[in-house]
Symmetry: C2
Amino acid sequence: MAVTIKDVAKKAGVSPSTVSRVLSNHPRISAETSRKVKDIMDQLGYHPNIMAKSLVSKTTNSICIMLPKSAEELFSNFFFMELIRGIVTQASRLGYDVLISSGANEKEEIEGVSRLINGRRVDGVILLYSRKDDPVIDFLHENGHHFVLIGRSEQYPDILSVDNDNVQASYDATKHLISLGHERIGFVSGPPDLVVSKDRLKGYLDALHDSGLEMRPEWIVEGEFLQDSGYRAMSFFMNLPNRPTGIVLIDDVVSFGVLRGLHELKYKVPEDLCLVSFNNIPLSELSTPPLSSIDIGIYNLGYTASQVLIQSIQNNNDKSYQKRQIIPHRLMVRESSMYSISKK
Amino acid sequence: MAVTIKDVAKKAGVSPSTVSRVLSNHPRISAETSRKVKDIMDQLGYHPNIMAKSLVSKTTNSICIMLPKSAEELFSNFFFMELIRGIVTQASRLGYDVLISSGANEKEEIEGVSRLINGRRVDGVILLYSRKDDPVIDFLHENGHHFVLIGRSEQYPDILSVDNDNVQASYDATKHLISLGHERIGFVSGPPDLVVSKDRLKGYLDALHDSGLEMRPEWIVEGEFLQDSGYRAMSFFMNLPNRPTGIVLIDDVVSFGVLRGLHELKYKVPEDLCLVSFNNIPLSELSTPPLSSIDIGIYNLGYTASQVLIQSIQNNNDKSYQKRQIIPHRLMVRESSMYSISKK
DNA sequence: ATCAACTGTGCAAACGTTTTAACATTTGGA
DNA sequence: TCCAAATGTTAAAACGTTTGCACAGTTGAT
C-alpha cells in the first residue's frame, strides 16, 4: 500500500538499514548514497511510519495536555486557548506533537493519562491547573513519569513547574490600591481548592499587613471564575456598613460581573469602587471602564511549559536545570483603579 | 521493562493470541479464560502498547485538528476553544484521541498535516476554517484522505463539512432590523478570502432585496475579526451624510469595537444605532448594552465535526450519510437592537 | 455410529522501523 | 609492506501487537 523503507531500499539498490541511516543523517553514510536515496524517496513519495518508528525507538515525540473539566467555564476559554497556543507553538518548534486529553472527573482524567502514558503514546504530560491534593499529580509523580505543572503543587514542592509569583503579583495589585490612598480593601478569591487562590490571598494579606492596614474577614469573599461570583460579591460588599473603596479580584471575568452590577445600581467606577484583577484578557481593555489587571503572560506560561517538559524528556538524567520557572507579571493600570482617596 | 502481552500470557499459561483476543472481546474466548487473563492483567498492571497496535491494525484511533495561524487573533480565542472542546469531547466519547497541529503559513500547514496523515499517525483531519482556494483542502482531497471542514468549500461542494446556514442566519439578522422599521442598514464584513464573509454578506443583501430596501455600496465595510475594525467602521458610518440606523456585524468582537467608539462619541445604543452580530460569545451579554447576536452553536459545530469525521473513517466505503451537516442558529435579541424606527 | 458444525486455543507471519554486530574495503602511519 | 583504524554497508533481531489458519475437542442432528 503505502511506500515503505523497503521499497525505497529496493529501488535504490541498498539495504533498508542504509535507508534508515540516511533518514537519521548517520555520519557513516556517504554523500553519494545519501543523495541517491533521498532522490528516490522524493520520487516515490516516501513518508516514515511514525508508529513503527515509535515502537522500536520507545519514544513518541509527542506530549499531552490534560484539559480540566473546568475548561467549560467562561473564564477558561481565553486562558486555556492562549496556554494551548503557547504550548503547541513551542512543541512544534522542537519537533513534538501535542495531544489533548480530558476527562469528566478525576477518575477519568487518571484513566486517560494512564492510557496515553502507559500505552507509550506520549512521552510526557502538561497539567494546566493546580488543585490541592491532586490525584493526577500523585499518579504521575509516583510512577516517575515526565510532567510539568502550570501552577504550583503543595504536595510536591520540587516537581517541574511553570508559574507566576502569584503572591508577589497580588501584593503588587493591593499595594497599587494602597498607594492611591485606599485603606478599606476587599478581596474576591477563587475556588479554595486551587493553589492560585491561596497564593493570591496571601499576597493581599501581606500587603495589608505591611502597610498596617486593617484586615476584616467580611472583606474577603470566595467565588468561582464566573461573572456571577463577581455580581454576588458586589452586592455583598456594597451593603456592608463600612464598605471597601477598592477590591482585588482573582480574575477579569469576575470583575466583569462586578462592573455589570455596579452599573445596574448606578454606582460609578472608579469613584465608588476601584477594581484591580488578574489575567489581563484582551477584553479587559474593552470594558467600560477599562479594567486594571495583572498581566501574567499566559502564552509565555504555555510556551515555557513545553520547553521545560521536552527538555526534561530529552535529558532524562540531567537534573541541572531549573525545577521551577517563574514567568514575570506586570500590572496594567487602567481606568477602573484610577481614583485616589484623599485622607480626611 | 513495561509489561507486555507476552508477560501476561506466560503468567496466565495461555498464548499471546488468547490474551489479545481477550482484550478485543473475541466471541470464541471462554468466560473462564477471559476472567483469568483479565485478573492477571490487573495484577501485573498491563497497558496495551498503542503504537504496536496501530502498526499492525493500520489505524490509529486519533484525529488531528489544524489550528490556523489566525487563531492568534482576539476573536478566535473563544471561538476556537469552544470548537476544540466540542471536538475533544465527542472524539473521546468515541474512543479517539485528538492531536493539535498548526503552522505559520500554508506551506507549513501542509507539511504538518502530510507528516501526520502520511506518517500514519492520525486517521483524519478537521479543518477549523474555510478559506477560498485553500491548498490544504486540495492536498487532502486529491490524496483521498479523511477530513471534514468546519465551514464550506467553494472548490469542492461535496466534501464532508459541518457548517451553519450563514446566508439564512444573516438574512434573519437583517430581517430583524427591518421588522423594527429600519430602512438604512449597514453591514460590517470579515476578511474577503473567508467563505463565511461571503455567505453572510449574501444573506444581508437578499434580505434588503426581498424587502425592497435600498442597498448602498458605502454601507458595506470589510474588516478583520478585531475590535479595531469595528471602531473604524463606526467612524466611517457615523460620518456618512445619510447614515444607517442599524448594522449587522460579522462578529461580536467587532461589535465591541463599535460600542466603544459610540460610547466615546457620546452616541446612544440602540437609539442612535442598532447592532446585531454573530457568534454570541458569553461576553456579548455582559457588554453595555448587551449585544443582540446570532448564536451559531460553536460547541455543537465541533462536536458534530468529530462525529462526522469518525463515522467517515469507520465506514470507509459507505456513502449513505449526509455529506453536509447544518447546525441550527438562533437569534438572541438583546438591548443593542431593541429600538424601533417610526416611519415618517 | 457418523459427520458436520461449533467452540476454544495456539502457531507463526506480518506491520515498518531501528540498531547491534559483523563484514568488506579503503586509508595511512610506522 | 603491514596492520590498525576509519569508512561504508548489510543481515538479522527486536519492538508489541493482531489475525488467518490450523487443530483438537465437544455437541447434536441424523
